[in-house]
């Protein structure tokens, strides 16, 4: 009985002249990892902000378990869905543990004073993301991969059911990227619903249950399993440049490459 977060014909524009999303229907249920892919500026971050309730749709609605998200108090919402923005820039120096403990905020009393139990939960979340060894480190001095794991622990400390992550692996090497996605898979096995924006189509194809492919033309090109979405035609349409799709030699999942420029349109 996982939670379900879905958008119903959601349209949105920051400025009326240029709509970012038009009639978008997406949904995520507890237990699955949904990847959001598409070219830069196609509205992936915007979609996430709408699903979090930070932005109000111009038309349509975002529903959490069938209830309009806008009707849920923000504190209550933060206990159900947790959001990790694309860029996190702390203004002050904090230890990794303090960063994770900050995630307890929506579960604390009005004064926001964490108790012993909150510290235990924070530590447990650090163990889940294998960062408990970093607890006394200055967050600012961590490597990119360590930072993302600590941030992941900090949103897990909210004890949410759904996670919405905006490019959590943008700055990571191939190994750390796979590490984070493996972690997300594990979380989904434990019942979390995960929405993750990424630019790495191959990793997305390997680790996500479903993909949503967005295009710069304010719409969703396709959604479905990686095999259904990561096809030459759909990707070429979304990215507006020729794309080649092959198969992963071990897993058999789709592998995606831009078509070499020299080959032009003369491919068979």
């Amino acid at each position: 009985m996982g939670r379900r977060l879905e958008s119903h014909s959601v349209s949105f524009a920051y400025v009326p002249e240029s709509p970012v999303l038009a009639d978008v229907d997406v949904g995520v249920t507890g237990g699955e990892v949904m990847g959001v892919i598409g070219p830069n500026g196609s509205g992936k971050s915007t979609l996430l902000r709408l699903l979090c309730g930070f932005l109000r749709p111009a038309r349509g609605a975002v529903l959490l378990d069938g209830q309009p998200l806008s009707a849920i108090r923000s504190r209550e919402r933060a206990r159900i869905l947790a959001f990790l923005p694309q860029t996190v820039t702390p203004a002050f120096a904090l230890t990794a543990f303090e960063v994770v403990l900050l995630g307890r905020y929506p579960r604390l009393g009005p004064l926001g004073a964490p108790a012993g139990r909150d510290r235990e939960i924070a530590l447990r979340c650090m163990r889940e993301t294998e960062t408990d060894g970093l607890r006394y480190r200055d967050f600012g001095t961590l490597s990119g991969g360590e930072r993302q794991r600590v941030l992941l622990a900090s949103i897990l400390a909210q004890e949410p059911d759904l996670l919405l992550l905006d490019e959590p692996t943008a700055a990571l090497d191939i190994n750390h990227q796979a590490g984070i996605f493996a972690l997300l898979r594990g979380l989904a096995r434990n019942g979390y619903g995960v929405v993750v924006v990424t630019h790495d189509l191959n990793v997305a194809g390997q680790f996500c249950d479903r993909l949503v492919l967005m295009s710069a033309r304010a719409r969703i090109v396709a959604q479905g399993t990686p095999r259904q979405v990561l096809t030459r035609d759909l990707l070429t349409e979304a990215y507006e440049s020729p794309i080649v799709v092959t198969e992963h030699p071990i897993t058999g999942t789709p592998l995606v490459w831009p078509e070499p420029a020299s080959a032009g349109g003369a491919k068979p």
Binding site: A91, A93, T95, L111, G112, I155
Partner: protein, 343 residues
């Protein structure tokens, strides 16, 4: 990176502050005996017959209270603006609040004098009212900039504040240029600031402005920890960022405007005290904010003691805060302990 225990830091700072308060009550141009004053108090003698008690109750105590309230409020406002704009330079002063208030006070003095008026509103002099109104005007402009336009960086707001401050200074110079020397001396003195209040009326005004605003701000402390990680993180944790910004901007400015209009534009407190405290507590706002209030009050008490004893006559306190605070702040900077800021 380990943290010192919050309780120890708090106990230390509060101890030092209490010492400052007692010193502030005990020190002055007249040396008075607490024992004598206590006997007079117990005997229930009228103040006219008990000079030591009178000095204590009518001068030292209100003065100390005024310093505590003004210093605490200024430090807290500075702390809150730094957290709000995520910038170590942001204080109501760097946003031009004090200069605007000073300009208001100047203009009011001149207009009233030339017109031969002595207007007052609910017991506040027109000078105070004008200082207050101009200070709020300044910050309203900044606030409108911050809110009405998307993604205004804190550097832009600070530049806007500095510009408004310079405009106010230019306005002040114009007023000075146009007014006669007798008036000038009076205005100069106001500009240097002073907590040399007599009786409790100013203390009550300060308390009525400072205490409720501070209480509401202190209740938001945990939200500033969240905001330190960016508006979207805070929003994701359930903080209503827009409301927090509005409340803080308004309360912090109101607080500062009340203080400036009551004791003049005393500089530096809002900038250095939060930084000094932050170098002890780190950026845990539930610790940092109340301790900034305490330390700010103690700092102004200490400055006021200096003002009373260093030079014959009373040195304006604004000069003391700058001379004591400036070098100390430079020392903090040179030690590379810019509080806890990720800069």
């Amino acid at each position: 990176m380990r943290r010192r225990h919050g309780g120890i830091i708090a106990a230390g700072l509060i101890g030092v502050s209490l010492a400052a308060v007692f010193a502030s009550i005990g020190v002055g141009s007249e040396s008075i005996s607490f024992a004598a004053a206590w006997r007079d108090w117990c005997a229930g003698r009228p103040l006219a017959d008990a000079p030591e008690l009178a000095i204590l109750l009518q001068h030292r105590l209100p003065r100390t209270l005024a310093a505590l309230l003004a210093g605490g409020g200024l430090a807290l406002a500075g702390c809150v603006f730094q957290a709000l704009l995520r910038n170590p330079l942001a204080t109501p002063y760097t946003l031009g609040v004090a200069s605007a208030g000073a300009f208001g006070a100047y203009a009011a003095t001149v207009v009233m004098r030339s017109a031969g008026l002595a207007l007052a509103l609910w017991g506040f002099s027109a000078v105070q009212v004008c200082a207050f109104v101009f200070a709020l005007l300044d910050v309203s402009l900044i606030y409108l900039m911050a809110v009405r336009r998307h993604h205004v960086s804190s550097s832009v707001l600070l530049l806007a504040g500095i510009t408004l401050g310079m405009l106010s200074n230019a306005g002040m110079m114009l007023v000075r240029f146009l007014s006669d020397p007798g008036m000038l001396a009076m205005m100069e003195r106001w500009l240097m600031g002073g907590v040399d209040v007599i009786g409790y009326e100013p203390v009550v005004t300060l308390a009525a402005g400072v205490l409720p605003c501070s209480a509401v701000l202190l209740l938001q402390a945990a939200k500033f920890d969240q905001l330190g990680f960016g508006a979207e993180v805070a929003q994701g944790r359930g903080v209503n960022v827009r409301r927090l910004q509005t409340t803080t901007f308004l309360l912090g400015s109101f607080l500062t405007a009340v203080i400036v209009s009551e004791v003049g534009p005393i500089g530096f407190v809002g900038l250095i005290v939060p930084h000094a405290v932050r170098s002890l507590t780190g950026s845990r706002h539930r610790l940092l904010m109340p301790l900034s209030f305490v330390a700010g009050g103690a700092f102004l008490c200490l400055c006021d003691i200096f003002a009373r004893i260093v030079l014959p006559g009373e040195t304006p306190i604004g000069i003391i805060t700058a001379f004591l605070g400036g070098p100390f702040f430079l020392y903090l900077l040179l030690r590379r302990r810019f509080g806890d800021w990720e800069t």
